[in-house]
Symmetry: C2
Subunit: 321 residues, 2 copies
């Protein structure tokens, strides 16, 4: 990058926002924030060039949005309202200061959507690969945090939105299909916005027990939830919400195993099903896709018949969270 350090930091500081709780923002050894008593969620999630993305496919503006969205998604999934974030970027020479500007503008846009404030981070050079790592703090707003470990046998399993959109968008991009009618999928791949509206309704009613975001694929993520909860799950493929085109093209697997949708996966007590219907009547897409049992692993059924699922989802190394 051709830009000197001080100029870069000035560039970044323009995205600072005022808040009474931020006692000290960018410009010191660390940020200082005033916090009230309570439970807080801390997350950290990175994206690495050639592993998570290629600059050929993703504009820096969308990359910035996505870097924030993936962290926001994790905070929401724990039942917490995102508050503050910090960003580390490691930038090789080939990346221009204009691209870095677009990256921060993208982050800033996503931050505004969820009312989360940048308070600091680190900028450094890099020999060859570009690297972005965001950490975020949020405050738990549900009675108790929504962990992967809280699913109980007999509870129902639900997901928000439609699954497989992001993976389908990526496959369209790879085939060079960027024409009419596919924008929705490509946008979902490039900058998958977490479902804030339905999340607010869910946490307001404190209906969910276990919750997580679907980042690597429905089956693999549900398996992780069941392992942490010591339970098993049955899923009805017919009820898994996906764009019609996936069923038409016989690519249902993208809905089961395609990553990066950042929709919410959660369990809730069966007797509260009326509350879910109440939320869907408001126009929010929530689908009940299966139930938790005392077994082990995730079994998938289609029209009553158990199906063998081969590719479960995307594994990079994954999170140590």
């Amino acid at each position: 990058m051709e830009i000197p350090e001080n100029k870069l930091i000035r560039k970044i500081r323009q995205f600072e926002r005022r808040s009474d709780e931020v006692l000290r923002g960018i410009g010191d050894d660390g940020a200082v924030v005033a916090m009230s008593e309570g439970a807080y969620v801390l997350v950290q999630d990175a994206m690495v060039e050639h592993v998570h993305f290629e600059f050929d496919f993703v504009d820096p503006y969308d990359l910035g949005k996505k870097a924030l969205y993936s962290n926001i998604s994790d905070v929401l999934a724990m039942g917490a309202q995102p508050l503050y974030y910090m960003v580390t970027i490691a930038v090789p020479d080939k990346v221009t200061s204009k691209e870095i500007g677009r990256l921060y503008r993208g982050m800033n846009r996503a931050a505004k959507e969820f009312d989360v404030i940048m308070i600091g981070g680190d900028t450094t050079g890099s020999m060859r690969d570009f690297f972005i790592d965001v950490s975020m703090v949020g405050k738990v707003v549900t009675k108790s945090y929504l962990g992967r470990n809280k699913a109980k046998a007999g509870e129902l399993i639900a997901v928000t939105g439609f699954l497989g959109e992001s993976a389908y968008g990526l496959s369209l991009l790879r085939q060079g299909k960027t024409g009419r009618g596919v924008g929705r999928f490509i946008r979902r791949y490039r900058a998958p916005q977490p479902p804030y509206g339905v999340w607010k309704e869910l946490v307001k009613r404190d209906i969910t027990t276990a919750m997580m975001d679907i980042s690597d694929g429905l089956i693999i993520d549900l398996e992780r939830m069941m392992v942490e909860s010591g339970k098993g799950a049955r899923i009805n493929l017919d009820q898994v919400p996906m764009p019609a085109v996936l069923r038409k093209e016989k690519r249902e697997n993208l809905a089961l195993a395609g990553g990066e949708d950042y929709q919410l996966l959660f369990t809730f007590p069966a007797h509260r099903i009326g509350t879910i219907f109440e939320i869907t009547r408001m126009g929010f897409p929530v689908s009940i896709v299966g139930e938790v049992d005392k077994g082990k692993g995730v079994r998938v059924f289609e029209k009553g018949q158990e199906k063998q699922i081969t590719s479960k989802g995307y594994e990079h190394f994954g999170d140590i969270r």
Copy 2:
């Protein structure tokens, strides 16, 4: 790296420590911690292969320690006790799982020294370069946080420990001099432990106004403090604490402009000089090196004569904190 994801996470989880305040640690979308009301410091600091270190010079164990120390140092410099940290690593194939194990053992060792707990992070592959990025939360224990912006004209300027040790250690390593009598310098370069003992005495007495850690060199870091405070500073080179060998070899510049010492630089009201002497009598090294004035920039004097300082310190891109 040849290790599969699940095994790596199991490896990392062995370094989890129990705490009543950690409601949920590794194994979920995010960590959950219980926090009391107050001011909290958040920092994030990365190290990138070929920019901050080479594996030829640094063992992964020391690299882990250093990654923690640089963040701990920032938290302490704000007047806060470090509490929790998260770690992102991006690992190319050439790095072995044994090396990753040593890295986490090094972090764990440094964490224990300062009673800070790992609660999560992210692990990912990388095409070519190794990255490590640590974020940390601490709680302010002084009456008000110790910012770079708080220096007042007439206050005295002090530093802890000896400066230039780390830069001298690096120059010895580069010359292949690793024999007798140089271990202190090489250790300081490889794993510069922040001065916790003297920090505790300083914050207990609430004597400091502005504080920061010296990560890039005394002059450049002091200049940053003065810019944030809107003040100027005069430094007496004769009083800058450095190993005798630097004066002997006429390499005083390493003490003024050598980075990565992670000693503390602070200002305090002149009338409290007795408190500083009290701390030095306890055996802690603190040196009064100059004073804050109403001017601009940092001026360096030697035996009463102003000196021209050329190389001010190390700049990578630097922090956006």
